[in-house]
């Protein structure tokens, strides 16, 4: 009985803690995956015709699918 109870407790504890570890990454991320910002303020930093690509271009949306940095079609 004792063995079964302690096994049950350890299993329960382990499950809860492991779930908790994953919760930080997956649950948090997926929840906020639906809550997004849109066009970044640096959208104002436009690639003009007075500056070559490597000097002024900094279009980097990064990993966030919702964030277009200052990406503007040329």
């Amino acid at each position: 009985m004792k063995k079964r109870q302690s096994f049950f407790c350890i299993a329960l504890l382990s499950t809860t803690l492991v779930a908790n570890v994953f919760a930080g990454g997956t649950i948090g991320t997926s929840t906020f995956g639906f809550l997004d910002n849109v066009i970044n303020a640096v959208a104002l930093l436009l690639r003009g015709d007075s500056c070559p690509v490597r000097q002024c271009q900094d279009c980097r949306p990064g990993e966030e699918p919702d964030d277009n940095g200052n990406c503007r079609p040329r």
Binding site: G28, I39, A41
Partner: protein, 657 residues
């Protein structure tokens, strides 16, 4: 009875023991739930730091604190034009994702064709069967050329780059669409090579071209090229493909835009023998070499862009005044403007990405501070406007800010500097101020739709001033050169003078001024804070230029950069520029809180400068919020960064003096 009582007693004891065991079990189970629960709630309550970020000094942010800043992506729609398919009257468009979509007809559902490659430029093949694009997804800042085939529905890399630091920054289709012309820019060897690819082999011209060049147009054997000598010295050349000979067209003026139309070459010029000031458009016959200045209407104040229709009979010009754009269409006979078509757009928009859909239809995007970009076209003959996309905005962003106000102030040398201010619609007291300084510096901040401005204004009551300090484009050559080399500190003085202007405004809180700048704008923000130890509440420097000496030491740096910032061998100049940076001047930094971002893949500026600055300020007890992204380059942005900016500003505005 006693026996019975004794038995009962035994059974009660057993029950109690069992109950006690159950109680202990329940207690353990309860404790099991009780103890991890705070951990569970702590982790799930916190706004997650992306795995690719390493952060220092940023206090944990609760989701409840920042989640109201964000909204579902489906609640906003903003579309821009990549290019037009004139053959089939359809458009290649993008949205906030920077993917490439096909829009087959007005208001159709966009079809996603290419995703996640973040193209720099997309150009449709004239026959409408394919398009080419450049992307540096594989290697930061080294763009490669790809072809998307509509029939195969796949992308193919066209050219293999073998140089140490080679990039295809510019390309275009031949008029017939049977080949692509492009520039192989070798930043290591400091030279450009014009090449063509006909889908069987690559042919490169032996013409030696030092520095960075752009291929602008091609017709027959003539290829129009631009040499990026300096921001105000963009020189034009024609390369003859038969002889590989390079002929200068304009080596005196600043030629921002140019195109070929039949036997004529057109270009916008400033500062040559024909045109002293913008706006000016010149035309040259390629046969007689005779140059004519187009007679533009007197009320045309500037030329942002000029494009000619396929039949050469109509000329489209976009320009702007105080941040509001106009799109005007003229009749062209020979190389003379004969008439203007009546205006069809209200003067309330920023206009982007104009494209001739046909000889009588123009496509363009319109947007302003409260309206995300949408795509329209205008038929000149029928005078009909067609909506190709409709913008969408979540209610949380609607009607939150006032129309942008143009702001003008005198700098310390009496030069007029301008910008525009976004303010919350409703505010009861003095607004804290966020001064935003753009990068470049040769670009122009215009009042585009900007959800971050709206959220900062509506949630923190902030007034955001977007500045166009000296060095910005749009104000002429002299203004753009007014910050070069030893004059760099004059650009800092422009922001310092703005602080004086803010102090005089009754509804702005001069004791709560924050600076924000990305790239070059970050340098000016840092330098201003160094020189204004008491008037700045906080600095947000996003992937900033930190040391001009350090930047000029990078192997990619070319003549263009040296014309802007100076010769790194000029030790006297470098020493004076060192004085503008907080790097190695941390003792002069008055504990102003700093939010600093840096991308690991950023090759424009040395990482050491960012790390050293962070460590020097922290070593002196400074309040430094540092975000280091291992997956980003020159540009670090995303939800976490914006949440941190919001928290940084909120903390700063709430802090007592």
């Amino acid at each position: 009875m006693h026996v019975m009582a004794g038995e009962k007693m035994k059974m009660n004891i057993k029950r109690r023991i069992r109950a006690s065991k159950l109680g202990r079990f329940a207690l353990i189970v309860g404790l099991t739930f009780l103890f991890p629960s705070p951990v569970l709630s702590q982790d799930s309550d916190l706004f997650p730091v992306p795995e690719s970020y390493q952060v220092e000094g940023i206090p944990p942010m609760k989701k409840a604190e920042v989640e109201h800043l964000f909204f579902e992506p489906g609640t906003v729609r903003s579309n821009l034009i990549w290019d037009a398919d004139r053959k089939n009257r359809r458009l290649l468009i993008t949205d906030r994702t920077n993917n490439i979509y096909l829009l087959s007809s007005p208001l159709a559902q966009p079809e996603k064709l290419v995703e996640k490659v973040v193209p720099n430029s997309v150009k449709m093949r004239p026959n409408g069967q394919a398009f080419a694009y450049t992307s540096d997804l594989e290697d930061e800042d080294n763009f490669q050329l790809f072809l998307y085939d509509f029939e195969k529905k796949t992308s193919t890399k066209l050219v293999t780059l073998k140089g140490k630091d080679e990039s295809i920054d510019y390309f275009l289709w031949s008029r017939t669409g049977d080949h692509i012309l492009y520039i192989r820019a070798d930043y290591d060897l400091k030279r450009s090579t014009l090449c063509s690819y006909d889908f069987q082999r690559e042919t490169c011209f032996p013409t030696e071209m030092k520095g960075v060049w752009e291929v602008m147009d091609a017709e027959g054997d003539k290829v129009l090229l631009k040499y990026w000598k300096a921001a105000t010295a963009q020189h034009l050349y024609i390369l003859d493909r038969k002889t590989a000979q390079l002929t200068p067209i304009d080596e005196k003026g600043n030629s921002r835009g140019a195109f070929l139309a039949g036997v004529n070459l057109y270009w916008t010029a400033e500062g040559n023998e024909f045109c002293q000031r913008d706006p000016c458009i010149l035309s040259m016959s390629l046969k007689s070499k005779k140059v004519v200045q187009l007679q533009l209407p007197e009320n045309l104040l500037s030329v942002n862009d000029a494009k000619i229709s396929g039949d050469g009979r109509r000329l489209l010009i976009t320009g702007s005044r105080d941040g509001i754009d106009y799109l005007r269409i003229f009749q062209l006979k020979g190389n003379k403007i004969t008439d203007e078509y009546p205006p069809f757009l209200p003067n309330t928009y920023v206009i982007w990405h104009t494209r001739w859909m046909s000889n009588n239809e123009v496509a363009y995007t319109i947007e302003n501070i409260g309206k995300p970009a949408s795509i329209q076209s205008f038929n000149i003959d029928t005078k009909q406007i067609t909506d190709w996309t409709k913008e969408k905005l979540p209610p949380s962003l609607e009607n939150k800010v006032s129309a942008p106000e143009v702001v003008r102030w005198k700098s310390l040398d009496q030069r007029e500097i301008s910008g525009y201010m976004v303010r919350p619609k409703w505010t009861a007291k003095k607004s804290p101020v966020l001064i935003d300084i753009h990068g470049g510096p040769q670009i122009l901040a215009r009042p585009l739709f900007n959800s971050q401005d709206i959220r900062l204004a509506s949630n923190l009551g902030m007034a955001i001033i977007h500045t166009n300090i000296r060095g910005s484009s749009g104000f002429g050559k002299e203004f753009m050169d007014a910050d070069n080399k030893e004059k760099r500190n004059d650009a800092v003085k422009d922001i310092r003078a703005l602080l004086d202007w803010v102090e005089k405004q009754p509804n702005l809180a001069a004791d709560k001024i924050f600076l924000r700048g990305g790239s070059y704008g970050g340098f000016i923000a840092l330098s201003t804070a160094l020189q204004e130890p008491k008037r700045i509440r906080g600095v947000i420097a996003e992937y900033p230029l930190i040391s001009i000496r350090g930047m000029l030491d990078q192997s990619w740096v070319d003549e263009f950069a040296k014309n802007e910032y100076g010769d790194p061998r000029d030790e006297k100049l470098m020493a004076s520029l060192d004085e503008l940076s907080p790097l190695n001047n941390a003792g002069r930094w008055n504990s102003i809180p700093l939010l600093l971002t840096r991308g690991k893949l950023d090759s424009r500026n040395p990482e050491k400068n960012a790390v050293d600055l962070k460590n020097q300020l922290k070593g002196r007890g400074g309040d430094v919020w540092y975000i280091y992204s291992t997956s980003d380059g020159h540009g670090v942005s995303g939800r976490y960064v914006f949440a941190a900016i919001y928290k940084f500003l909120k903390t700063g505005t709430n802090k007592e003096n």
